[in-house]
């Protein structure tokens, strides 16, 4: 088994324009995803919009307002999942709700303890 982080990138404007209906639907979709894949999900969170982000660069001396990279689709949440291989991880990641964007699958680095 291995762990993968599924990063959800979406256009924040989609959520803003979608209003309460989009939020309710999003909540329902994520609940359904959680129920269907409960055993594989090790964790996950939704993030507040990039408007709340602060970035720190150049050895921690420069603090700036905003996300690290300005992109149309911004990181808005993630799931930490467990899967035997990439094919299985992709099968789960495809079910992660992402109506205003997409998801990225990244294997978690394993450090040998021996």
């Amino acid at each position: 088994m291995a762990e993968y982080l599924v990063l959800i990138y979406e256009d924040e404007a989609g959520w803003e324009q979608g209003g309460a209906e989009a939020w309710a639907q999003g909540m329902k979709d994520h609940m359904a995803f959680g129920e269907a894949n409960g055993a594989a999900i090790k964790g996950g969170n939704a993030l507040q919009p990039t408007g709340t982000a602060t970035s720190i660069r150049s050895n921690g001396t420069v603090v700036t307002d905003g996300p690290f990279a300005e992109t149309k689709e911004a990181l808005g949440g993630y799931y930490l999942i467990e899967a035997p291989d990439l094919d299985a991880a992709i099968a789960i990641a495809k079910q992660v709700p992402h109506r205003f964007g997409g998801v990225e699958v990244r294997p978690v680095m394993v450090f040998d303890q021996s």
């Binding site: 291995a2 035997p84 291989d85 990439l86 094919d87 991880a89 992709i90 699958v105 294997p107 040998d112």
Partner: protein, 419 residues
């Protein structure tokens, strides 16, 4: 006394075994090593050993089995002696089963290992360039230098591409496995795409003076045949093999004795490879029964209409236009649209063809595509709009780097009245 073989016979047998057995030997060895690099090393070593062993002991009856046994033995040796560093390397993910029986026959359960290797090399999580590179390297046994030459990149660039892809396979845990039933059609489509790309790269080299890079087209045909053997019920695979056969059947007549490009209209159809055409036609029939009809099957069906016409004049253009319509529905690419426009020009005359081509003038993907200008030039020439034809030929020339194709366009330009 074992039969003695001259070095020439051994070299021939070895070259043959390299082409026919490489994928088989490597795939079976990967099952033991679960490490692509180590497996490659062991297989290379087995081929090197064969050179001397076959010269003294004779060429084995089943070279593939000999090579596999030798490579696997070396792999087991290496693994036994492996230092901690190697044991800590991430291993290729395999189903947790025994690495297959000792190889005594060419067919049997190990044949599947080649499928595992194919699906791993052509995994959609790998960059398309890397899929092609890995396929040439691991399935065809091409050296990094040859792979680099085939794709017109430097050897270090190709080496880096292959290393990066191998790292991703282990790092992201791309499994060494045949995909599950639900994914198989999509995954087979990905494999077909890689093989088709190999073929087209060899068929019309984008740059350079040899129109057909035989090595690549032959490897692509070998791979398509291998896929057909391993996935005999797959209509898309049959369609792909049909397409390659029906296109390659005309290889000998694509250029004249001086290496100049010959259009389909001017080719000597008696010199086409009848056996390849017959095989291709039978495959098209099989593939067309599959639903939904795939992209390669439709392309093969178009090639089949050409190959079935005894003369250019009797080509069934209406049928070709119809097939392009269907193809465009499943594969809406601007290049398909352009080919369809050209077919309309032959079905309904150059004025209709020119209209159809001009309708694509604003297609961004066709901007800078020499064939669009060449098609326009040809229709304008047939409509005797000479000044416009001349401009279009010059535009096509500016966009074409293949020497054979350039020569053709230059001759057409020079042949215009008042030229």
């Amino acid at each position: 006394m074992p039969p003695h073989h001259g070095s020439a016979a051994v070299a021939t047998a070895l070259a043959d075994a390299h082409r026919r057995e490489w994928a088989f030997v490597l795939a079976a060895t990967v099952r033991v090593t679960r490490d692509l690099d180590l497996a490659e090393e062991c297989v290379q070593d087995a081929y090197a050993k064969a050179l001397t062993a076959w010269a003294t002991d004779g060429i084995p009856e089943r070279p593939g089995a000999w090579l596999t046994t030798t490579a696997r033995r070396r792999a087991l040796d290496q693994l036994r002696r492996a230092d901690t560093a190697r044991r800590l390397l991430p291993l290729l993910l395999d189903d947790d089963v025994e690495p297959g029986p000792e190889v005594t026959e060419q067919a049997g359960p190990v044949a599947d290992d080649r499928l595992r290797l194919i699906f791993t090399c052509c995994h959609p999580a790998l960059n398309p360039d890397a899929q092609v590179a890995l396929t040439l390297r691991l399935l065809c046994g091409l050296s990094t230098a040859d792979t680099a030459r085939a794709f017109l990149v430097s050897e270090p660039t190709m080496a880096a591409r292959i290393t990066r892809a191998k790292k991703k396979i282990t790092g992201a845990r791309i499994p060494y496995r045949v995909p599950q039933a639900g994914d198989i059609r999509e995954r087979v489509a990905g494999v077909c795409e890689v093989v088709h790309l190999l073929f087209t790269t060899g068929h019309t080299a984008p740059v350079g003076d040899a129109l057909v890079r035989r090595e690549l087209t032959e490897r692509a045909l070998d791979l398509a045949r291998l896929l057909r053997t391993l996935l005999p019920d797959d209509a898309d695979v049959a369609g792909l093999l049909a397409l390659l056969l029906l296109t390659d059947a005309r290889r000998a007549t694509r250029t004249d004795a001086e290496g100049r490009l010959l259009l389909l209209a001017d080719q000597d159809r008696t010199a086409w490879d009848r056996a390849a055409i017959d095989e291709g036609l039978a495959l098209v029939r099989f593939a067309l029964a599959g639903r939904p009809t795939g992209r390669y099957t439709l392309m093969a069906a178009i090639a089949a209409v050409h190959d079935a016409a005894a003369h250019w004049e009797v080509t069934d253009w209406a049928r070709i236009v119809g097939l392009y319509d269907t193809l465009h529905a499943v594969w809406p690419s601007p290049v398909v649209a352009l080919n369809r426009a050209v077919a309309i020009g032959f079905a309904d005359g150059p004025a209709a063809g020119l209209d159809a081509v001009d309708a694509l003038a604003d297609e961004p993907q066709l901007a800078g595509y020499g064939y669009l200008a060449a098609a326009r030039a040809d229709f304008l020439r047939r409509l005797e709009r000479i000044a416009e034809a001349r401009r279009a030929y010059r535009e096509a020339l500016a966009l074409t780097s293949n020497l054979t194709e350039r020569q053709f366009l230059e001759e057409r330009l020079a042949g215009l009245p008042g030229g």
